[in-house]
């Protein structure tokens, strides 16, 4: 028989898990924003991006979800790709001028949207 303290602990843990599940879903669905946001600071390859988002958000974006987005954004002229000098093993992506504008606006709009959703839920 569990004590009430243990039950509360279980509830907190389950709430944490639930919260993690929602964060996971939000980041995966909106990975383009998170990827572009990461690229605001420095140029990265697909591997770096997956690692960065995992260490920052504790969410693993699969390779099949990340590389198509990189190629599409590159095709749309929002990213520039180049192989590192002396290292043909990784193609580094950076934001183009128009990509930076889109990324900054998307990050701002996304944060606003999350705030609004949060307010809606608290009513």
């Amino acid at each position: 028989m569990k004590t009430s303290v243990e039950n509360v602990a279980d509830l907190c843990e389950s709430s944490e898990d639930n919260c993690k599940k929602f964060i996971d879903r939000i980041i995966k669905t909106n990975r383009e924003v998170f990827m572009m946001s990461s690229l605001l600071d420095k140029q990265m390859c697909g591997y770096d991006l997956i690692k960065e988002i995992f260490s920052r958000c504790d969410v693993f974006l699969s390779q099949g979800a990340v590389y198509p987005v990189l190629y599409t954004l590159e095709g749309e002229g929002l990213l520039h790709a180049e192989y590192s000098k002396g290292d043909m093993r990784s193609k580094k992506y950076s934001l183009t001028l128009s990509g930076r504008k889109v990324a900054e606006k998307d990050v701002e709009d996304f944060a606003k949207a999350l705030e609004q959703v949060s307010l809606l839920l608290k009513r």
Binding site: S62, Q63, A65, Y67, P68, V69
Partner: protein
């Protein structure tokens, strides 16, 4: 309509291929498997406001496009070509489940383009050779199901000569042919006039088609299907 995408294809395909069909395109090397599929897809995309995805495991995008250009087949904006070069350079093969990853790649493009209706994988042999063999029959079954669930008309290229030589993949062949809605065989045949390429539809569910081998040629205008070879 797919049957109008290659000059002369209507000689062997009398009805339209049903949407969401999964078709195997088999043949030995040099029989124009990639060229035929890519040509069908670019011509279809050019004539319709739809998108397609061509996944190449054997070559990178640049070398694939060079080969296609040499056959007189031009790139089409709505046909997205995806290769695994960067992924395979940055990750260990053991970190990649390429069948699952291919499904995720499809999902990503489908998410971006609602009207993604065509898919090609070049080739199944390459997918097998760099995938873990464990439970492969189930993985193939699920992969085919995934393509159908996404309502994609899909072309899976499979080099048959390699598979005949190597017994490694033979166990999977039965299941592919059994699961596929259609099989198009490409080959070469030696006759009086020398070696000729041919195309033959071995199976196409819910579609009337010719059974004979027809000659396949390539010129500056791309791929053409001529009359039957007897």
């Amino acid at each position: 309509m797919l049957k109008n995408t290659i000059n002369g294809l209507d000689k062997i395909l009398f009805d339209e291929i049903p949407k969401g069909s999964v078709i195997l395109v088999t043949g030995a090397e040099g029989t124009l498997k990639s060229g035929l599929v890519f040509s069908m897809m670019t011509n279809y995309i050019a004539a319709n406001d739809e998108h397609g995805l061509y996944v190449t495991l054997e070559q990178n995008v640049e070398s694939h496009l060079r080969n296609m250009n040499s056959l007189g087949i031009k790139e089409e904006g709505g046909l997205h070509i995806f290769d695994y070069r960067d992924m395979r350079l940055e990750w260990m093969d053991s970190d990649l489940d390429l069948i699952k990853t291919t499904e995720e790649v499809i999902d990503s493009y489908k998410e971006k383009y609602d009207n993604l209706t065509l898919f090609a994988l070049d080739s199944l042999n390459a997918l097998y050779s760099i995938s873990e063999n464990g439970n492969m029959r189930n993985k193939i079954y699920n992969f085919f199901s995934h393509l159908r669930d996404e309502d994609l008309t899909s072309f899976l290229i499979m080099e048959s000569a390699q598979s005949r030589i190597s017994g490694q993949f033979s166990q999977f062949h039965q299941i592919e042919h059994f699961l596929a809605d259609g099989t198009i065989e490409l080959g070469m045949i030696e006759g009086k006039g020398g070696v000729k390429r041919y195309i033959q539809i071995l199976k196409m569910r819910a579609t009337k088609h010719a059974m004979e081998k027809h000659q396949l040629t390539v010129n500056d205008n791309g791929i053409n299907i001529l009359g039957p070879i007897y």
